[in-house]
Amino acid sequence: MTTTALEPGSPSAPPGLVLSIQDVTMVYPTEPPVHALAGVSLDVGEGELLGVVGPSGSGKSTLLHVMGTLDRPTTGDVIVAGHSVSSLSDRELSSLRARHIGFVFQQFHLLNGYTALDNVADGLLYTGMALYDRREMAAHALVRVGLGSRLMHTATKLSGGEKQRVAIARALVGRPAIVLADEPTGNLDTKTSDSIVELIEELHDEGASIVVITHNRDIAKRFPRTVSLRDGLIESDLQNGDH
């Protein structure tokens, strides 16, 4: 649901962007302070699929949390789906996440007692949509990720790969402006991991904007664009020619 009007005086990001990070730093006030992000700027265009790669501790998860408005940067600004995070209240950030951002986590984070269908329907829980409609959309999303035959399976009975498909369906069910995935294949074996990466590529082909964080360079290099992070700074930002 996009409107054409630009917020007067809104940051001068070019149209066609879903996410813009502007000179963001993140300092954790520990002793000594940790500069997890030391000045990062990054734009993600509509329909883009990009991999963020870097060694452990380089700030990847911190970056994802900042992009997903789960954390506010120490300095700099983040603009998601046209909204500047620095100008929004905590409640408004929740609304932004409910409607415009989808998350996929390494640990899946499914509710164990729930069916696959209800786990995916929960992706729409805080939008105020009625349960019946949520389930209907969830069923479509599950069919899309190849789990049409698993709708009524409880989460505990699913394999790791199936769990991650459910989590991906949950992230996508509300057609968010951007999907942020933190190590989505980190808990999966190589073969399952490959199939999940293929699913992500398919969803990208259908128009979804996706950021995938991984410490696996091979996976990151498969994507059209690869951003390398080191010590809280962008080391390289490459378009991969063969896509």
């Binding site: 009007a5 997903g68 789906a81 046209g82 409640r91 408004e92 929740s94 986590f105 509710l111 949950r170």
Partner: protein, 400 residues
């Protein structure tokens, strides 16, 4: 970048119930156990109030049947209290008081009662013998278990009616095979067995015989020892005031007047004290139950950090998270409360019907029990809910 709409995060009321019950559905045993404390507390309070109400109702019914207008006149006993005997003319004088509707006298006979004539005379049976007026049963509101009471016809003959305890001691349940008892040194025919006298328990241990029979067969000088007086219910107090002077004009201070129904009321007052005690215990159980719920909720918040983080990522506001956990505590308390009310009503029903009482559970008991449960749930859930809502999303997600 095109600015998208930003309608606020919303959670339907129905979904609130669904999210609040996630913890209960995924951890059923723990939920059940933590609701038990509240359940016991509420059950204790409901059943205590229910039983007290039921027994009170029974007492009122009893008083209603027996009346509160029965008075007993006795000669005072003990040091300085006089002879222990009422003047011969006392019964007649008392009967002449205006509002007095009926009088009935009893007079203790110096004799023992046995099942047979083989028992050595030194051994007493603990059963007294009383020479009584034939209207005694009616005056006291007593009831027969079997047979008949003394009548003008039978009171002249060696016939006896046994109080409930006396009959039991003598092994006589009914009068079907015309039982005899050895009374004084003479066989008496038992013509009736009485039920308990609620207003005059001393007669339960007595064998009652006619005044004429006592004089004829036992050589008894039938001077009234006690007079039972039924008065017009509106003048009970004034009759009590004039009774001593009427019964013994020379020494009114030697006369003791009592109102047997007061004893029943006093018994109820004593049981009120127990009610208060048990209510106090119930309140302690409730408090412990509340602490139990708070404890389980705090643990639940710790264990479910990842879920909290996920919900924040899915767009839950702090308030949505707080309401979810508060709702869970409330649900636990309500489950305990409803269970407690049911248990309390069940206990009341079982005990009351075993006592032959009406089953009464005051609205205050169950409505108050449920309200207390809800309040306790709210208080117990408040702190864990606030803790859950204050968790930052990233902190919550990083834990697992």
């Amino acid at each position: 970048m095109a600015k998208t709409d930003l309608a606020p995060s919303r959670l339907h009321f129905g979904d609130l119930g669904r999210t609040a019950s996630v913890g209960l559905r995924t951890r059923k045993t723990r939920a059940a156990l933590s609701a038990v404390g509240i359940m016991i507390g509420i059950a204790a309070m409901v059943s205590v109030l229910g039983l007290s109400e039921s027994s009170k109702w029974d007492l009122l019914a009893q008083l209603d049947r027996l009346g509160t207008n029965l008075l007993t006149v006795q000669a005072g006993q003990g040091i300085g209290a006089g002879s222990g005997q009422l003047p011969e003319e006392a019964a007649g004088m008392v009967a002449r008081i205006g509002p007095v509707e009926a009088t009935s006298t009893i007079s203790a006979v110096d004799a023992s009662v046995y099942k047979s004539d083989f028992i050595p005379s030194g051994q007493t049976s603990g059963i007294s013998v009383q020479a009584v007026d034939v209207n005694l049963l009616e005056t006291l509101g007593g009831r027969l278990a079997d047979g008949d009471f003394l009548s003008e016809a039978t009171a002249d003959y060696p016939t006896a009616v046994l109080g409930s305890v006396a009959a039991e001691r003598l092994g006589i349940r009914d009068v079907d095979d015309q039982p005899l008892v050895w009374l004084g040194d003479q066989w008496f025919a038992v013509i009736g067995v009485l039920q308990e006298f609620e207003l005059s328990p001393n007669l339960d241990r007595a064998a009652l015989i006619g005044v004429n029979a006592s004089e004829t067969f036992l050589d008894h000088d039938a001077v009234a020892g006690s007079i039972y007086v039924r008065t017009n219910p509106q003048f009970v107090d004034s009759v009590m005031d004039v009774l001593p002077a009427s019964a013994n004009p020379q020494n009114p201070e030697e006369i003791e007047v009592s109102r047997p129904s007061d004893a029943l009321e006093a018994r109820e007052a004593a049981s009120d004290a127990f009610t208060t005690l048990f209510l106090g215990l119930g309140a302690v159980a409730l408090l412990v139950g509340g602490v139990g719920i708070a404890n389980v909720m705090v643990i639940s918040v710790l264990e479910r950090r990842a879920e909290i983080g996920l919900r924040r990522a899915l767009g839950a506001t702090r308030r949505h998270v707080a309401v979810q956990f508060l709702g869970e505590a409330l649900l636990l308390a309500i489950i305990g409360g409803v269970g407690g009310v049911l248990l309390g009503v069940g206990v009341t029903a079982i005990y009351a019907s075993s006592q032959g009482w009406a089953i009464l559970v005051p609205t205050l008991a169950w409505a108050g029990g449920l309200t207390a449960a809800i309040l306790i749930g709210a208080i117990a859930g408040l702190y864990p809910a606030l803790r859950a809502s204050r968790l930052s999303p990233t902190e919550a997600l990083r834990t697992s």
